[in-house]
Each structure stands twice: as C-alpha cells, then as structure tokens.
Symmetry: C2
Subunit: 408 residues, 2 copies
C-alpha cells in the first residue's frame, strides 16, 4: 500500500490545503486551510467505531509501531481528559486527517496541532488499539475494576526479561501499511499526552509475521519459515467469539467486547540459526521451509499429523491439540533494531497475541513450549500484558469510557 498513488480526492484535499497555506504564509495571514471532517474518507481507511477495537481482527497491516506508556499524572480527571483527546485524535488520524479540527496548522504563534509528517499520505489502513496494563489498576482508584483474567504473567523457562522493554500502564498498538503513518500516530499521541503520560518503551515492526486473511500468502518470520498458517482469520466470527472477544460472562461488564493482549519481544539468534542445517531447522519447526507443509504432508494448509513430528517440534507443542484447545490470534511483526555489542543483528519477533483469557491462552501454550528446541535459538527479552477495552461506539464515545464512566 505504501506505493499507491494518493486518490484524486485526497490530492485535491491536500493540494488545496497546501495552496491556501502557501498563500497564507506569503501574505502573513493567520487563517489556516481547513480539512473538514465531512471529507469522505479515502478507501484505505479502516472504520474507527465499532463494538470491538480495530487492529485485532482487522487484516494485518504491513507495519507496526507499538508504544507502552507510564502514567505521570495523579489526577484522574486530567487522565480522563487525555483519553478523550486521544480518542478524538485517533478518530481523525485513522480517517487520514491531521490532528486538530483546523487542519494541521492552527495559529502561527502556537505549536501546530499536528506534527505534519503524514500530510499527503494515505490513511494506509491505520488502526490504533489501546490497552490497559495491570499497573494502571493500582492508580486512580481502579483496583476493584481490574479483571481477574488480567493476571501478571508468570516467569517462563528461558525468560530473560529487560524491565525497560516490559510492562507499562497502558499501550497503543499502531498498525498501518505505511510506517510513517504508524510512527506519526504514536508520536502525536505522545505529544498530546505530554505531562500526563510518558513512553516507557516502544517497538517498530517492519514485517508482519502473521496474517488474519486466510487467502493471503502466509508471511515468513526472520528464521525464514512461514508463520501463522493456522491463525484465526478476521472473518471467522465463531472462532473470534470463542477465543478472542470477551463477553458478559467472562469478566467485568466494562470489558464486554474487549480482549487481552500479550506482547513479547523475542530475540532471535539468527547468526547461530543461519549455521544450522536445513534438516535441523525443519525438524525444529515441524514444517518444511520452502512450502511450509507439516512433516509428512505436501501442502502448507494440510492438517498436521502431530505424531509424525519430533515431540519437541514447535508446531506440535504450540498446536491447540497439545494445549487443551488453547488458540491465540497472532499479529506479530519482525524487528531489526541495529546491532548488539558483538556485531550481531538485534533482530527477532515482536509477538502480539490476542485472546479471551490469558490463563487459558498464552500461559498454557508458553508453558508447553518449555521443551521446544527452538528455545536454543530464541530468547524472550520483553513482556507485557494488557486488557483491551471494547471499541469506541460512536463520536460521543471514548477510549476507556466504560471503565472510567463514573467520572465521565
């Protein structure tokens, strides 16, 4: 999507804004060109309103910017105002508009309402998905509202977690087909949150490793293997209901329509992996590398016969049949963050998994992976868990309203 031409409508809109602004700048006038909310959204916009937040069952976009924030303010009303401001900004940005009703600018003597680097770019299927971490519920008198399913993750075998890449009071997952659009969104939310929240850590992902569209070509992770062949598709309403969306029976009312997110930064020792034989790589995964077929089968989507694989094969250990049916919706991204002190690429998988209940989702699956031979080549170095509230229903609704409604 990054290369597509802006739609004609978008060109006229932005071009007009630019021309008017150029004239305004030349003439010293203070009026800024307006991009009204009544402009029809270009076709690459994902609807922001809905029963569930976008960015979960949405077909996976190409790029990610994920940010975890810590709260600085102790003033609940101020925090609620920020959530409302964030919601308004998210509503505009996902539609392809700059932050701020008056176009990107505002008054010349004030900072611009929008930082500007996404002007002229497509909405690029931007989704913004907010989550609340366990530590948020220690603040603002929220202790009683913490869902039972929002457990602190236990320590897993092999974990080597960096606290500077773990946890956080809240998160925003920005997914888009253009990384500049995703980065712009996180940066503007951080700007709006200045003094109220601060970024604890953030992660860029350059290549999706899972798809939620069953017909699409399955992406490959940095080990060179297809990943997410049997992922939950956004069109599989029944599986989404069963494994992903929280309903009224599962927890507090404010979470109905929400989900839970586990984020894990998984470093891959790719230099070691690259010196491993093809046969060993395929044995470790339980699939062949070229086609992605399960051991003994010919095609990627053939039903795996788990007993044909080594007992330590990744596909076997992670399979729902090995985990009492536990099934995760995955939206992971590959990352490469430069080089470590030993000249090795700091690369791997930023694993994102959505589920109805972490206790019947990620935790049992990850425990079962303790004997996975893949663990010789990977290490979990960051970890976080968040409650994902339901969607924003309309223009009067806002992120977290059901949780904070008493003070809305």
């Amino acid at each position: 999507m990054t290369s597509e031409s802006p739609s004609r409508r978008a060109l006229i809109g932005w071009g007009g804004a630019g021309l008017a602004l150029g004239a305004a700048a030349a003439g010293g006038a203070v009026a800024m060109a307006r991009t009204g909310d009544d402009t029809p959204a270009p076709t690459t916009a994902i609807p922001f309103h809905g029963a569930h937040q976008a960015g979960i069952a949405t077909p996976v976009q190409d790029r990610l910017h994920f940010a975890s924030f810590d709260v600085q303010t102790e003033d609940r009303a101020e925090f609620v105002r920020m959530l409302k401001d964030w919601t308004a900004a998210a509503r505009r940005m996902t539609a392809g508009h700059p932050v701020g009703e008056g176009g990107f600018g505002g008054l010349p003597e004030a900072p611009p309402d929008d930082t500007g680097e996404a002007l002229g770019l497509q909405p690029s299927r931007l989704t913004l998905t907010i989550g609340f971490g366990p530590s948020l519920f220690e603040k603002f008198g929220l202790a009683d509202a913490r869902p039972e399913a929002l457990v602190d993750l236990p320590k897993f075998a092999g974990d080597n977690l960096d606290r500077n890449r773990s946890g956080g009071d809240l998160c925003v997952q920005a997914c888009a087909d253009d990384p500049q659009v995703a980065v712009h969104a996180i940066r503007n939310l951080a700007r709006i949150g200045f003094g109220k929240v601060v970024i604890r850590w953030s992660q860029l992902g350059f290549g999706k490793t899972s798809s939620t569209t069953p017909e699409a070509q399955t992406p490959r992770n940095l080990m060179g293997f297809k990943d997410g062949t049997r992922n939950i598709a956004g069109t599989e309403t029944d599986r989404l209901k069963k494994f992903v969306w929280v309903d009224g029976k599962d927890g507090p009312d404010w979470m109905a329509g929400g989900s839970y997110l586990v984020a894990r930064r998984i470093r891959m020792h790719i230099e070691t992996w690259d010196r491993t034989s093809l046969q060993e790589q395929e044995d470790i995964f339980g699939r062949d590398k070229g086609e992605g077929a399960p051991v003994g089968k010919a095609k990627e989507r053939d039903e795996p016969f788990l007993k044909a694989m080594l007992p330590t094969a990744h596909v076997r250990l992670a399979h729902p049949d090995s985990n009492d049916g536990a099934t995760l919706l995955r939206r992971g991204y590959s990352f490469t963050d430069g080089t470590d002190g030993l000249g090795r690429l700091d690369a791997g998988l930023f694993f994102l998994a959505y589920q109805k209940d972490v206790r019947r989702g990620f935790i049992p699956v990850q425990r079962n992976l303790a004997t996975d031979t893949l663990n010789e080549y990977i290490q979990h170095v960051g970890s976080a868990v968040y409650a994902i509230p339901p969607g924003v229903r309309d223009k009067d609704d806002w992120w977290g309203r059901a949780l904070f409604a008493g003070e809305a």
Copy 2:
C-alpha cells in the same frame, strides 16, 4: 510497492519451487527445487550491472537497511574471495532470486544457501551499494590507492558523535520498497562474510526523506517539512556528471564512475520541536510547512529568494548559492529506534549524501550550517564517509575489482 501482488510469473516460479520442495521433504529426497538464473527478472528488479552502482541515481526506494562493517581477516585473498561471493549474492538478490544457485535450500545436512525470509517476495527494486571507508586503506597494502578526496571528516560545530555509530571499513546500503527484502540482503551478506567481516553498526530507515524523481511528491521528514525539493534527479545527466560521478580527472583510475558517500545519523529532538510555534518552525526552515514554498513564494518549486529568509534559515544556509555551488545528491531516510532513557522517541534523519568530492560537497555545506537555528533541535550523533567504487559491469566483474585487480 509492498502491497502489490507477486507477478504471475513469480507466483508460478515460487509456487513451483514450494511444491517440489514439499514433495521432496515428504519423500525424504535431498534434491532441492531450482530457480535458475534464466528466469526472467520480475519487473520490480533494478539492473545490477552498469557503469555506476545502482542505489545512487536510482529513484529512491521506500525503505533502507544500511550496514557498516569492520574487516576481521588479514588475508587479502580471502577478503577478495568474499567480495566476489558478495557480488554473486547481490546479483541474485537484486534480481529477486535467493542466494545460491540451487535455490534457497541446498543439501538438508548443510545450512541453507539463503536464510529464506524473502522467499515469495518481489525484488522490490532492491539495490545494494558498496563503499570503502578510510580505515580500509590502512589494510591489505592499500595505502597508496586511497583517493585524496576520501578525507577524514573534520569535527563540525555541535557534533556529538558516538563511535559505535560511526566509521567502518566498508558499508553496504540496501534500499528496497519492502523492508524485509532490504533486511534479508544485509543479513545474508553478513552471513556470507562471517569470520571475514563483522557488522560495526547498522541502521534501518522507514521513510525516505528525499526523492530523485522530480515529478514525485516530495517526502516529509520527521519535523513535518518537505525535504529534498531541489535534489538532483536521477535523470539529470548533466548535474550527476558535474556533482556526483567521479571521472578520470578527479582521482585514482579505480574510482572512475564512482562517487563519495557521507552518512550522518541526525537525532531530532522532536518533543521540543513539537512545542515550537508554527511561525518559528517556518522561519527556521525558510519554507512554509503545508506547501513547502520558500519564504515569500507560493509554490514548493518556486525559486527561493534567499534574502527574504532569515540569515540563519536552513534553506538559505544549505543552498548552493550560499556554498559556491556545492550540491549534494541526498537519499536520506527517517528513523525511529525505540525510546531513550527519558521516554523520548529516539528518532531523526539518517542523512545519506553522494558527491564527486567531499571537500567540495558535504564539508563546506556542513560548515556553513554552523549558524543554522535548526541546530537547536537536532544533533549529529553518527558519522561515516566512504569511497563508492564504480558499478559492476557484467557477470565476470565484481565489487572492488578495479581496486584489488592486481590480485584478482
């Protein structure tokens, strides 16, 4: 380009490879599917052979992975063999093929010839451009071959260089419209170079900030301003000859057809910038933010009237008329590398500039920027300079042949 469907030809090619491999894996056979060099290159491939290296005058791709390497071996013949192996791999990867004549795989009992994560992806206009740093010429008896124009950069006002992000014996610039293709290329070159070279530092860029196609929409940097409006276009043969390509008169024979590259990692203090007024931002750049028009003009491409700008305006100080005509071909990329210890995004511009002679290009321009008010919002934190040898002419030629020819 990242979202386009693989061409039908590519699908047949890869799908066939996958099927054959799946069958091979199922049957335990060792033969791997072959993707011969005779497969016509898909249309998104940039020719690798030419008088100049691709990736300089080539229309700027969307994504970057840049790696600087240090040499570990002291054996000149071994290093030359690696350069030949790199060239063969680069020739295949830029054409959209996996490394290794036998397809990605090879024998099951050996590590695969290709790491696999780009299988099924388009060539994505991948270009790979090699450069030789000053320190390389202290090795392998190359001292006499060092071009006079390859000077060590002086210290500039405001420099705050991290040596772990600076220098290096050689570099490879990988540009592609798909980041996974660029990352795959650098990773496979590092793999092939194992034991001979090691990555000193590397940089991912997610958004191009300059274009070398004059008709294209000018990209915006992370300060929200259009950047590179007056860049040298790849089609401007005369300006390329005058400002970019080394000819026989300019230096050693082995550099004829080459160029010089200056790479600077420029951190932007975007949180501070975002709290600066629109008027101040526009005064600092000397252009308006929306349209990108020079001060007092209406359109982005109107000729700037430098005296209408503040004497400290960036456009005025960087303009060729303020620098005895010095003109750089820029191919910079925006970066965001997570967060620093203070919760600020570690973001900015990875500046890449090509020129015929650094002494009449980057150095005078950067010296003239000492009074640039933009310096309050940016800091140069990484720096490197490289001699870029001429292009690889044909299938028997290799990167650096003219320099190392005595031992070829």
